[in-house]
């Protein structure tokens, strides 16, 4: 029983990284922007957050540093894509390539660095329940905040006027523009918010999840987060669910190794990537289903007045 409650705990932990990044990318895609730079933003944020904690000893400053770095990089991406009308895919790719190089460059002096041990967390009263306590109630506060964030996003997108405007920008920027909404500004705000969340995810990865800096440590989580928005057919609740599911797949390899399954570790490490491919193929199989759910202007540039 104990190993299963640890597996659940590890799943939530790993799922939080994916959930934060994927919710951010969802916000982007809801206004019609695909940011393939997720991986790069997460890497830069991971080293920024880690470095901030090494120097200040304060986790929350680390998270803030990660979010700010993510937001800044996203703003740069946004300016290029939204105002200079550069190709979204190519620009995102440039961001990932730059982020991979830049984080490795900055990170060279932090490879050996360690951050102080932190007291374990626990919700008073609940943390001591057998089985459930270790599985659900001994996590870093950010794990719970991520769930709250998803709920807040659902409320914002589907229950507020601003959320409606945001979605309309993604569905038909021309109509939103004709109604007098500042389409480009809304897109930029969404891109920056999404970048901040990717940054937060990267910082969580290097500060809480690992916690250390390794070159290229995001290892495809940014790309999996991108795939998650499609799996979730662009719904926040499903993004959250999908993130935990994939967190589970990531953790399964350690669990399987732990219970002595005799498969070379490399094949277990492949699991999340293979799972992404399989699920992506299954979900995308029906083009109609994707077309109905996908924000209509996704990936397309918008030129006001043309």
């Amino acid at each position: 029983m104990d190993s299963y409650s640890l597996l659940i705990a590890a799943t939530l932990n790993a799922g939080t990284v994916l959930a934060l990044a994927s919710l951010g990318l969802l916000i982007n895609e809801k206004v019609g922007i695909v940011n393939l730079g997720a991986e790069g933003m997460m890497l830069c944020a991971a080293i920024a957050g880690f470095a901030a904690v090494v120097h200040t000893g304060n986790d929350w400053l680390g998270f803030a540093a990660g979010a700010v770095v993510g937001a800044l990089l996203a703003a740069l991406f946004g300016l290029l894509v939204i105002w200079l009308n550069t190709n979204q895919f190519a620009t995102g790719l440039a961001l990932t390539l730059f982020g991979t190089g830049f984080s490795a460059f900055v990170g060279t002096s932090y490879v050996q660095a360690r951050i102080p041990e932190r007291p374990s967390f626990g919700i008073p009263g609940l943390a001591d329940i057998p089985v459930l306590g270790p599985a659900l109630f001994r996590h870093h506060p950010l794990v719970y905040l991520t769930v709250l964030l998803a709920l807040a996003l659902i409320w914002f997108m589907y229950r507020t006027r601003s959320g409606l405007v945001m979605r309309s920008v993604g569905e038909s920027p021309e109509s939103a523009h004709a109604l007098g909404y500042p389409v480009r500004l809304i897109r930029l705000m969404a891109v920056v918010a999404g970048g901040a969340l990717c940054g937060l995810a990267g910082a969580y990865l290097s500060i809480i999840y690992t916690p250390l800096w390794v070159e290229g440590m995001v290892s495809g989580k940014g790309w999996i987060a991108l795939a998650l928005t499609t799996f979730a057919t662009w719904r926040p609740a499903r993004v959250l669910l999908g993130a935990y599911l994939f967190g589970g797949v990531t953790m399964l390899q350690f669990h399987l190794q732990g219970i002595g399954v005799d498969i070379p570790s490399q094949f277990l490490t492949m699991l999340p990537y293979l799972a992404t491919i399989v699920v992506l193929a299954l979900i995308s199989r029906n083009p109609q289903w994707i077309r109905i759910n996908m924000p209509a202007s996704i990936g397309k540039p918008f030129y006001p007045g043309s």
Binding site: T86, F89, S284, R285, P304
Partner: protein
């Protein structure tokens, strides 16, 4: 406020000028970075732009690195021109290397030099097979090729790691994750003594010609690009988008696989966990900076090779880290995309337009 004004026609001047401007921007940012790091910027620029062309041997080394970049980029240009987003060339390169390495390991002392042909062919087949997975999933299941091809890179890395750490591990290799060194007969023939340049350089240049002819002088190449520029027009003309998808991915997969084969049977000489060197990703930048044009990519591949060699020089001689290469590669693509705005727009000083 600066204002963008659409040009009636794309500017011919800027479509050539923008890569140069982008390089200038990258160099300027680089100089600022070096000064900020307290290093002599002139000496740093010398590492990147003079050392690699200093003498014949250095030039040869420049070509050794430019060759895989150019070969992979040639294939990617076909993909990108067809609006097929294969960003997993790194994976196709690795599988090409594995296939080629597998054949090379079959050779023994008595094997003749004919083995080079099957080694190279195996690499091409391996790269094609890996790219075909992406094509199949896109074609049959409508799965996004960006994500699938990228995920397959991680799978390929693990596969390589498994092979060199397990079944193919060199028993006398002190437990390092590597195979035994290949027999001398499998070595890709070199062009001349005193340089590591191999017939790969020749193959790359033949590739430049072949891709040029395919893109600009054949009906198939034309159909391929119409599908990328205007899918509706392509459908109307009866050009199959499925065929374009498969053609693009098989060509680029084969090219990446070829590059992988030339590397493992050439400069590396064995399979190791360090075969993946990021060439597949750097080639994306090569393709864009070279304007997706075969001749343009010759220049951008040489430039990117300078970045690699410069990064290594800066590490060994100035105590900087090699990862500078990645920073500059990313910066170059970023600046290029921004500068490309000038191809389609004019900058005007004036009141800001509506947002």
């Amino acid at each position: 406020m600066l204002k963008l004004e659409a040009r009636p026609q794309p500017s011919g001047f800027w479509s050539y000028g923008s890569p140069l401007l982008a390089l200038l921007v990258t160099v300027v940012i680089g100089v600022i970075l070096f000064i900020a790091l307290g290093k002599d910027p002139v000496r740093a620029l010398e590492m990147f732009f003079w050392q690699p062309i200093r003498n014949g041997y250095a030039l040869g080394e420049l070509m050794v690195k430019a060759t895989p970049l150019l070969i992979i980029a040639l294939g990617l240009a076909v993909c990108f021109r067809s609006n097929v987003w294969n960003i997993g060339a790194e994976g196709q390169y690795i599988i090409g290397a594995i296939f080629a390495g597998g054949v090379a390991l079959l050779a023994d002392k008595g094997t003749g030099a004919w083995i080079v042909a099957p080694v190279v062919l195996a690499g091409i087949v391996g790269g094609m097979a890996w790219a075909a997975l992406t094509a199949l999933l896109r074609d049959r299941f409508n799965a996004n090729e960006i994500l699938v091809s990228l995920m397959l890179v991680y799978v390929a890395v693990q596969l390589l790691s498994y092979l060199v750490g397990g079944p193919w591990k060199d028993p006398q290799g002190f437990n390092f994750p590597q195979t035994r060194t290949f027999e001398a007969a499998t070595r890709i023939p070199r062009l001349f003594e005193g340089s590591r340049m191999s017939i790969g350089v020749v193959l790359a240049l033949v590739g430049v010609g072949a891709i040029w002819v395919f893109l600009f002088r054949t009906r198939a190449g034309f159909a391929q690009q119409v599908g990328g520029l205007a899918p509706a027009a392509a459908r109307y003309a009866g050009f199959s988008s499925r065929q374009a998808l498969w053609t693009a991915l098989l060509i680029s997969g084969g090219a990446a696989g070829l590059a992988g084969a030339l590397e493992v049977a050439g400069p590396i000489g064995q399979l190791t966990a360090y075969v993946p060197a990021g060439y597949g990703f750097a080639a994306i930048i090569v393709a864009y900076v070279g304007r997706l044009h075969p001749v343009g990519m010759v220049f951008s591949a040489i430039l990117m090779s300078m970045f690699y060699i410069g990064g290594e020089m800066a590490q060994s001689r100035m105590g900087l880290t090699k990862s500078l290469t990645g920073v500059f590669q990313g910066l170059l693509l970023f600046s290029l995309l921004a500068c490309d705005t000038l191809v389609n727009y004019r900058l005007r000083l004036g009141r800001s337009g509506s947002t």
